[in-house]
């Protein structure tokens, strides 16, 4: 395991499996009388959130606390950052407070990458701009593996041969980027389904297939992942109207019926019910939305344990001083 988790591209298949298998061992912690392990006692995890994301922050916070780490939540709103403090100065402040890990959510692509150059502790990317959100991809992979291969029985297995269709605003989606990289590393066959305006220009260099149409992909999908439509895209001519988007790329009950019997429907949340996903789909038995949230805590425990549960990285100090 590396010192940081910044991009899903940093994870080899073996790394990814180690995280998934670790999470598998931690998964039944929630069923135990004492939902806490002493492993990270005395370690400090800082949640550094420059964007509002209560869900992700709470998930990381629960994960850190279940491992007995001390958690400091640093919300950039109304703080010194809002008063113009640079990311670097914030990083130096966290450093001085002895943060062993910094979980960063930031609106700028590459912010986690930059932060890693300025702090000694581990950096976990909790979403940077339109770049990546690796723990989301890990929890998605974990959810798929448990659902499609059976919880507990999936240890050591990848997602070989599993067909995943990711639908929607790929261009601006850090979830899609991380998922394409991670799922393909785990052996899944990924297809992106989106209007051409919402796909990166050079998407053909990504390890996945591309379709402008959703209907043809559904019967060949073991999992469908619906991406959230950001309201600001509607004004920037990415598609003509929400109605048209929903008609062409939204997942409603009729479309869901085209899926194979065993297929699951995923959404990273928060959902726009009635836009990319119909309410009856979101609430159906195929939907893994709630499981994804629970699995998020487990995966983040696994990541924090693997980053912080061992010896400190002796090379850290040298790297930072560059």
């Amino acid at each position: 395991m590396r010192r940081h988790l910044i991009s899903a591209a940093d994870l080899s298949r073996a790394d990814a499996l180690l995280i998934l298998d670790t999470a598998e061992e931690l998964a039944d912690l929630t069923d135990r009388p004492i939902k806490k392990l002493p492993t990270l006692r005395g370690r400090t995890v800082v949640n550094l959130f420059f964007e509002d994301s209560t869900r992700t922050r709470i998930s990381f916070e629960a994960a850190a606390k279940r491992l007995s780490a001390d958690v400091i939540n640093f919300s950039a709103k109304g703080s010194s950052v809002a008063k113009g403090e640079s990311l670097k100065d914030t990083a130096l402040t966290l450093e001085a407070m002895g943060a062993d890990a910094v979980v960063i959510r930031h609106g700028a692509s590459g912010a986690a990458h930059r932060l890693a150059g300025w702090v000694r502790g581990s950096v976990v990317n909790a979403g940077d701009g339109t770049h990546e959100h690796p723990t989301q991809a890990l929890l998605d992979a974990f959810t798929m593996r448990r659902r499609l291969q059976g919880a507990g029985a999936a240890r050591g297995k990848g997602l070989d041969g599993i067909r995943v269709t990711i639908v929607g605003d790929v261009l601006h989606s850090r979830v899609a980027r991380s998922n394409v990289l991670l799922l393909s590393a785990l052996g899944a066959q990924v297809t992106l389904a989106a209007p051409p305006t919402l796909l990166p220009l050079a998407v053909d260099s990504w390890p996945c297939a591309v379709s402008y149409e959703l209907d043809s992909e559904l019967p060949k999908s073991d999992a469908v992942m619906m991406l959230r439509v950001q309201t600001e895209r509607m004004t920037a001519a990415y598609f003509p109207s929400v109605r048209e988007y929903s008609r062409r790329y939204g997942l409603d009950a009729a479309r869901m019926a085209r899926l194979p019997e065993h297929a699951i429907v995923m959404h990273p949340g928060p959902m726009n019910r009635g836009v990319e996903i119909a309410a009856e789909v979101a609430d159906s038995a195929r939907s893994t939305v709630v499981e994804q949230v629970a699995n998020g805590v487990t995966i983040r425990m696994a990541v924090l344990y693997l980053l912080l549960g061992g010896t400190e990285f002796p090379e850290a100090a040298a790297e930072v001083s560059r």
């Binding site: 039944d28 004492i34 492993t39 061992g310 010896t311």
Partner: protein, 205 residues
């Protein structure tokens, strides 16, 4: 856990060392397959004696090699008494006190019998008892899982050099060693053979 590095309390990951694979290192076999079998048979009898026929007993193996040992003990007990003693595994990694000394390691399985541990007599099973720190971690891990009526400890080898006030209830073989030596337990389920070796320090126990 199987073996302890000289001077340390930290067992290495399961050694992928087959008997022939220890080439270049001097090792002396202190127990062979038959002796291991006999030791386990004796321990199984002792457990039955000390728990009034295995009533309310649960065997929990500590990964990696404690787990197959626990299974073997359960099989012996079934053989002798015709009773099925519940058997599982208890991973202690997250409770270890030496985590910071090495990179984070993969977790072993924790697999409790359906009955749980509350009110039971839990027999922890491990391959080598050395500093006692693994057992200490196991006791902590167990506490988080419930409240057993009693906890006992069975080990295949007790090599001495305790660092904590812990002792085993059932011992396959007491093996006086020097701290610089490595005791290596190999079991067919993991290592394709059954043997206990002592390595290092010229190979002389």
């Amino acid at each position: 856990m199987c073996a302890v590095l000289p001077g340390g309390t930290t067992p290495p990951d399961p050694p992928a060392v087959l008997p022939g694979g220890a080439a270049g290192r001097e090792g002396i076999a202190v127990l062979d397959a038959d002796e291991i079998r006999r030791a386990l048979t004796r321990i199984a009898h002792e457990i039955l004696e000390r728990t009034r026929g295995g009533d309310g007993v649960i065997l929990l193996g500590i990964p990696t090699r404690g787990v197959p040992l626990a299974r073997r003990l359960a099989a012996r007990i079934r053989e002798f008494e015709g009773r099925q003693v519940p058997c599982g595994s208890l991973d202690v990694t997250m409770h270890r006190d030496d985590l910071r000394l090495r990179p984070a390691r993969a977790l072993g399985r924790t697999d409790l019998p359906r009955e749980g541990v509350d009110g039971k007599t839990v027999v922890l099973v491990d391959d080598v008892l050395y500093s006692g720190r693994t057992v200490r971690a196991a006791l902590d891990a167990l506490t988080d899982l419930g409240r057993p009526r009693a906890v006992q400890l069975a080990v295949l080898v007790d090599r001495g050099h305790r660092e904590l006030p812990i002792r085993a209830d059932y011992v396959g073989k007491n093996l006086p060693t020097s701290p610089r030596e490595v005791v290596r337990v190999m079991l067919t389920e993991v290592d394709a053979t059954d043997a206990v070796m002592v390595e290092g320090n010229g190979g002389h126990p």
